[in-house]
Point group: C2
Chain length 205, copies 2
């Protein structure tokens, strides 16, 4: 399946600013993108990155600086169905997760993210368009309902866990050993357990 | 399958104190427990609640005021295998989720929670014991490794989403229509979207 992976290369992951510098955030975003592309590749599918600026990956890329939904709907208009969209900040995703997503039936398969987002879609009909603003998971269901499409939910913690905030970093350290996890470990992030709660803490010099 | 559902009836859900009174937290915890028990029942399995104080549910209950792991290991010692443990604060769980969990193979099936916890287990061997303190997901894997057990991960957002903090409430409103969701709606909680982010806000008089 053709898999579009949108990537924000321009000041990405601003909500990680409390723990990572701007340069570090870009490097960490690159590492997460690499993990997602590796999972798609191992699952036997072809990724295409739509990025806001140049990025160094062994995958076809298109630079598009327009808003996310505009860029994606334009890209969708040029490819055959089925097509998938998988976000770039999902380092917990494995090839098995990708296969589960693509094996789900339905005109539209939605993998909701935590907080109402849409972390992955499989689109099997030409009519559907995306709208990623706000509670996009609901919006995508509404668009599908208006078009009379069958919708399946892909219930995956690994697809639901997008890494946006410092509290999310623990998930990377707990559940993956890819580039993003090693990048964090190399910058002295580790799992800390206090009062029964788990956090990802950075050792300061 | 026999399913043990541990329930904290004594000052539950303290991290929801910023938005709910003590009495409301207990009522909301009861509503979440009802949703979990209904999902287990609809999936055709027998739940047994181990609670720290009396609770009004149409399910066999045992009151046990000891620490969680102690109470559960004692309960495990008296039941046949296979046996499952499903937490009571998972209102996103459906009968389909329960069936997916129980259909997974392996001596031990783990459904990790966000933040390193263990939200559900299926135990198919007498040897295994639980330890819910701290990053219990890792601990349960280590215990299984020491015993030479096969371990399967159940990758489910619905099982991973335990409702502990105000930010978690949006998941209940976005993805369920059970008792817990209706309880929140009746107390004027609703989904709010601002600056592209989603939250569950309470309308104040």
């Amino acid at each position: 399946m053709r898999v579009i992976v949108p990537f924000d290369a321009s000041d990405p992951k601003t909500r990680l600013a409390p723990v990572l510098s701007a340069q570090e955030r870009r490097a960490f975003a690159d590492a997460m993108l690499s993990d997602v592309l590796a999972a798609i590749d191992r699952a036997g599918h072809d990724a295409h990155v739509i990025t806001t600026a140049e990025v160094d990956v062994p995958t076809p890329t298109t630079v598009d600086t327009r808003p996310l939904s505009t860029a994606l709907n334009d890209a969708l208009s040029t490819v055959d169905r089925p097509v998938a969209i998988v976000m770039a900040d999902l380092p917990l995703v494995t090839s098995h997760t990708v296969s589960r997503l693509f094996d789900a039936e339905g005109d539209l398969v939605i993998a909701p993210g935590l907080g109402g987002g849409t972390n992955a879609l499989v689109i099997r009909t030409p009519a559907f368009h995306v709208d990623y603003h706000g509670a996009s998971c609901r919006k995508h269901r509404e668009i599908a309902d208006r078009l009379g499409l069958s919708v399946t939910e892909c219930d995956s913690r690994r697809l639901a866990t997008d890494i946006d905030e410092p509290a999310d970093l623990r998930e990377v350290l707990l559940h993956t050993d890819g580039r993003a996890a090693r990048w964090l470990q190399d910058r002295d992030f580790s799992i800390a357990v206090s009062s029964g709660r788990v956090s990802a803490d950075r050792k300061l010099e």
